[in-house]
Amino acid sequence: MMNQIISDNIRILSHTKNKNMGTKIYRIGTYLPENKLTNEQLANDFGRWEPEKIESKLGIRERHIAGLEETAGDLAYHAAQNVLFDYDRQKIDMLILCTQSPDYFLPTTACILQDRLGLRTETGAFDFNLGCSGFIYGLAMAKSFINAGIASTVLLITAETYSKHLNSKDLANRTIFGDGAAAAIIESTANEQIFNFILGTDGKGSNNLIVPNGCLRSKYNPQAVEKVTESNDIYTENDLFMNGPEIFNFTIEAVPSVVEKCLEKNNLTLNQIDFVIFHQANKYMIEYLRKKIGIPKEKFYSNMLLTGNTVSSTIPIAYDDAIKNGLIQKGNKVLLCGFGVGYSWGATIVEV
C-alpha cells in the first residue's frame, strides 16, 4: 500500500516536472488569392486618386481579391496547408477559425476545414466572429486551451474575403481592403512565450463599421437603394459601410492606452520591446498612432504594400513576414495590437 502511494507520488511529480508550462507561436503560414487589384486599376476605374497618391498615403500598392468561387474557407484551407506542410497533423487537437465572411450561416466553416485538412475527429473546431482584433483574441483562446489542459496544439486560422462585402463603386474601401488568410500553430512549451493580454470592447461603435443587411436582423435586400458618401463612394445596405473619421477617432482614443496597459500588465517598458506590430489598417493611420505613442520607427513594422488591409490576418502576415525578412529574431519580444470593427481591441506580447 505504502509502495503504491510512493509510486503514485513519483508519477505525479514526474508528470508535473515534464509538463510544459507555457505556449508559443511555433510558426505561421499565409495565403493570398491569385487575383490582384492594383492602384492603376483603381485609378482607371474611378479616375479619382493617382496610384502614387494611394501608395504614399495609405501604404498600399496592390491587394489580392478572392475569385467568385473562392471563399474564406478556401483561403483558410490554403494557409493551413502552407503551415502544416511537414507538420504532424495528428498533433493538432483544436482548430479555431476567425472570420467575418464564413462560407455558410451553418455549418461552422472550421468543421468543414477539419475534414478538408485531414485533422483527427478528436479535434475541437469552431469559428469566432471578430475582425481586426481577431488574431489577438485567437491567441488568447489558444493559450487558454493549452494552459488549461483542454488542448495541446492549436491551429489558429484567420481568413477574410471582405472584398465580397464591398460595393464595386466604393473606391475608399476597395482601396483599403484585401483578401487573405494566415494559419498559426500554437504549441505548448517549457516557458511561456505568449504573455498577458489586454482585451476590450465598445459596442457603441458597432454602426461605424458594419454590413447592415444579409444576416437575420435585416436580410439581404435585392432592391436596396444606392447611397452616396461624403467622398462620393457608393454603397447599399447590403454592403460594408465604414465611417472612416469615426474609426480613426476610435483608434486615436483607444490604441495608445491599450499599448500602455499591455506593457504595464507584462511589467515591461517600450524600451524592452524589440518590435511592435499593429493591425495594418492603413499606413497613415498606424504611422500617426506610432508617433503619438512614441514608438521608434525602427521598432515598428508596416507591410501592407502588397496585401492591403486583410483584417484579422494583417498581424500574422506581418509577423511571419518580419521573421522571414530577419527583422524579428529568436528571443525578441514583439508587442502585437489589433483594433477595429466592433469596436473591439486586444494586445499582447509574444517572445519569438
Binding site: 479619382r48 486618386w49 497618391k53 498615403k57 495609405l58 475608399a172 458618401t229 461624403e230 467622398s231 463612394d233 465611417n243 472612416g244 473619421p245 469615426e246 480613426f248 477617432n249 486615436i252 482614443e253 497613415y284 493611420m285 500617426y288 503619438k292
Partner: protein, 79 residues
C-alpha cells in the same frame, strides 16, 4: 497660432493645392479635399489642439473658419 497661419499649415498637412486659400475658402471647393484629406485633418487637429473632429462635425464644415470655430476661436490669435 494665427488664423492665416492655420490655413497654411492645415493646407500643407492635408496636401491641398494652395492656390490662394483664405479663411473663407469653402473646403469642398479645395482641390484634394477628399476622405484621405479628412484623415489628415483629424490628425492635425488632434496633434496640434487635442481636438477630435467627429464625422458629423466634418460633414457640416463649410470654410476654414468653420474648422477654427470647432477647435475653439480662443486658441487662435487674430491676424
Amino acid at each position: 497660432m494665427k488664423k492665416k497661419e492655420f490655413v497654411i499649415q492645415l493646407a500643407e498637412y492635408c496636401e491641398f493645392e494652395n492656390n490662394g486659400l483664405t479663411l473663407e475658402t469653402q473646403l469642398k471647393s479645395v482641390e484634394g479635399y477628399d476622405s484621405l484629406a479628412v484623415m489628415s485633418m483629424i490628425a492635425f487637429t488632434d496633434e496640434n489642439f487635442n481636438v477630435k473632429l467627429t464625422a458629423q462635425q466634418i460633414k457640416e464644415l463649410s470654410d476654414f473658419n468653420s474648422v477654427i470655430e470647432l477647435i475653439g476661436v480662443d486658441k487662435f490669435e487674430d491676424d
